[in-house]
């Protein structure tokens, strides 16, 4: 159980940190490079959105990042479970 909980927490931190950093980096580049408005979303779940109206810009890191972090945690726990089962079979 400890393995799965650790794997979930580490996976969530890893994916959350990496996804949030990627989103922020994209927003910084979009602002500096003069990109037009865009949004990355799945259905109504927004990961990152950038709006440009003349001189003004608005950047948003959406709740999709948190969902991605939880999904990363779940996938990592699944992966850990498979590895643990394989290790137990081999030993």
């Amino acid at each position: 159980m400890r393995t799965l909980v650790t794997a979930f927490l580490l996976g969530a931190v890893a994916v959350g940190l990496a996804a949030a950093a990627a989103a922020v980096a994209i927003l910084i580049v979009a602002d500096a490079a003069g990109w037009e408005s865009f949004s990355a979303e799945i259905g109504s779940l927004v990961f990152v959105s950038f709006e440009r109206a003349g001189e003004d810009t608005e950047a948003t890191v959406g709740p999709g990042i948190a969902v991605a972090a939880v999904a990363g945690g779940v996938l990592n726990a699944l992966g850990a479970s498979l590895l643990k089962r394989r290790r137990d079979l081999l030993h």
Partner: protein
């Protein structure tokens, strides 16, 4: 054969020969050696492999060619398990260059030591990052990318090292592959040490990203990516993540 007769061999710091065998502070128990192995290890004090083989042939009466072949293969075996450092003769064209010239994947000797061993791979990785970034980024951006790659490698390993106070450890390098190996630790501490490397590097990336946001510096944001991406080292896809979960 990666090792040549003119190469010099020496036991890594901390590894010593005792009556029971070869003792390594990061491994449990002595490693037993036969008389030939003991002779080679006892004389691995910076002399050449050729000199060791000559001494072995003289001491045991074994034909010189066989003594040399045995010494070369034994030194290679010890090097693979990080129990012998090999210093290559400088006159030779680097074997990695020869391998690449023949379309082969280069094989590298392993080297074991302290934190100073981090310098060469960090500089090499930084140079590769700079070269990769040069056609795409400004000179300053390419330099930042190189710093992020080379510095990221060093930060990662220093993150592990900082959490190993009181434990035996060493840096192991093979080409650009760098690891910190340490003695067996209880599970909670082992997990913390394993997670420390990716966490330190990725948090440094987050700090660089915050600075990029503050300064509106797009190239600094791009250069922070290799650092923040190290967070993925916490997953079971990477050795550190598996170790943190007690799976390796």
């Amino acid at each position: 054969m990666l090792i040549r007769p003119e190469d010099r061999v020496r036991l890594p710091a901390g590894v010593r020969l005792t009556d029971a065998g070869l003792v390594d502070p990061i491994r449990a128990g002595p490693i037993p050696l036969n008389d030939t192995g003991r002779f080679v290890v006892a004389h691995a004090d910076g002399r050449t492999v050729g000199a060791l083989a000559h001494g072995l042939a003289t001491a045991t009466g074994v034909p010189a060619e066989r003594a040399l072949a045995n010494t070369l293969s034994f030194c290679a075996a010890l090097n693979r398990v990080l129990l012998l450092n090999v210093k290559r003769s400088r006159r030779r064209v680097p074997s990695a260059v020869v391998a690449l010239a023949h379309g082969l994947r280069p094989a590298f000797l392993r080297r074991r030591g302290g934190l100073r061993l981090l310098a060469a791979p960090a500089v090499a990785l930084g140079a590769l990052g700079w070269l990769a970034g040069a056609p795409l980024l400004s000179p300053g951006g390419a330099l930042l990318l190189g710093l992020a790659l080379g510095g990221g490698l060093a930060l990662h390993e220093l993150g592990h090292r900082a959490l190993l106070r009181g434990a035996s450890w060493c840096v192991a390098v093979s080409g650009l592959k760098v690891e910190i190996l340490h003695q067996a630790l209880p599970p909670p501490r082992r997990a913390v040490v394993a997670a420390g490397g990716p966490l330190v590097a990725s948090l440094a990336g987050a700090a660089a990203l915050a600075a990029a946001w503050w300064l509106a510096a797009a190239e600094l944001a791009l250069a922070s990516a290799p650092l923040t991406a190290q967070a993925l080292g916490l997953t079971v896809l990477a050795g550190d993540g598996r170790s943190a979960c007690g799976l390796s």
